[in-house]
Amino acid sequence: MHMADALLSPTVGLSFWAGTIATISYCARKLKNEFNDKIIPLMGVMGAFIFAGQMINFTIPATGSSGHIGGGLLLTIVLGPWAAFISIASVLFIQALFFADGGLLALGCNIWNLGIYPCFIAYPLVYKLITGSNNSNKKIMIGSILGVILGLEMGAFSVVLETVFSGITELPFLTFTSIMLPIHLLIAVVEGIVTGTIVIYVKNIQPDLFYSDNKSNNTLLNLKKVLVAMSVLALITGGMLSWFASTHPDGLEWSMGKISGREELPPKEDIFHKTLSKLQEKTAFLPDYGFKKPEMAEPEKAESEKEAWPAVSGGTSIAGILGGILTLGITILIGSVIKFFRKRSLTNTY
């Protein structure tokens, strides 16, 4: 459920990057203070462990599909929230680069979605509360399953919000939510079971391996801090988001228009209003229809569509398409020519 660059608007992408970087810096400072330098290599190999662990696939009983570990909650159980968040962020960074999972702009969202919820919500509010201090195998299993469910569901819901706020897709909020949440519930249960099994395995052999915060101060205090930090971050992010949205209808789009003076740019309109009205419009057809009928939608939408892309007049768009195809051809030609000359120069030198 990686958020992808292609679905994002710059505003949403940047806001989540801001939130993510703020959290990383906060965690880094936090780690510097309660320092135990052994955690530096431990975080690193644990990150690598999450990658490596994902290569172990197993079939999910009764479904025939296969699953693998996710890692957010497991990392937090071993490393504690601060270190785990940084570790997850680095794992996702490497994933974004080497596997192009999502892309670099969406990375901010992805770190947020897969890091914040397991580290700062699922772990302290679910896992820790359930397992308590004298943890039995049963408690660990229940805590793991519920923790992973909460973390993943919140992450999935986040993906929905990010997508809808970006407004690149037409998928209505409710439909999207009703697809994402059940899918992730299934994934989460399996992940939760595996996480629980791992934790129990390790606990039985080496019980002292897990992070415990009672040595520094009590859990409740930490919890409060976490919640405060969370709300501050949410405020900052939300503030930035609405500031962007209200002052510049479409962030960069707007400034570009200013610079270029292109008159085909969409008229300024509050992104929230646009999204909200679209939401209303679309959700109105649910749940009776899965998807609304196009004929019905047309008259209502004609107006806004015209505004969204007013440049569409027959002439320009045909010119655009023809030009696009030509540009594509030229591009491929240039690429092939370079390849050709490179090869030749190589064969000449040897």
Binding site: Y201, N204, I205, Q206
Partner: protein
Amino acid sequence: MSHHIIKAENIHFSYPDGTKAINGISFEIHHGESVGIIGPNGAGKSTLILQLNGFLLPTSGSFNIGGTPVTQKTKTEIRRHVGLVFQNPDDQLFMPTVFDDVAFGPLNLGLSPEAVEIKVEESLRIVGCLELKSRPSHHLSLGQKRAVSIATILAMEPDILVMDEPSSFLDNHSRREIINLLRKFHHTKIIVSHDLDLIMDVCERCIILNDGRVQADGTTKDMLLNKTLLEKNKLELPLSLQNK
């Protein structure tokens, strides 16, 4: 699979990243033979034996074991007959206790719980680790881990035993015990090792690999006494023959 002849025909293998590890290897190993495979680091030894079991499939060429070609389809069947002990015992033990680990294979073969228990105890006794039965694998010394990994394979009663560097990590005494163990195993065995003294003690035949090719194949004596041949392949006379 009555005679268990192992036949490699012009095997080539490249890793997905393009590394050519095996460049045309052919040989035939007969039932009951004990064959040592030696060569420098990176020669392709481990790559070669991983293909015996279908963990890797040749890019071209084919393996044939007891008349069955090793393919995606037959590999599960093949693995009942070919037991592989890997280089690093840590990779081989993954269950919580020694007992669970040794029982894993027989259980999957569908043996009854009683039969499994008997099998496990027997295998552990052979490698001299019966008293470790209920210990967690994690806390064993490396030598003990090595012995237990051999037991996990013995418990499956393979017809062909393949081992990658069985003596690494071991002290002299445990090494000697592994040598004795191998000598007592009378089915076909293939042993990869840098420890040429062990090869000399256990194998009658020896294949020298280098650069993914067979450089020489013959009786162990012929191979391990040929100083120029050995040196060409970054090897040395077995230490026990290097008199000072």
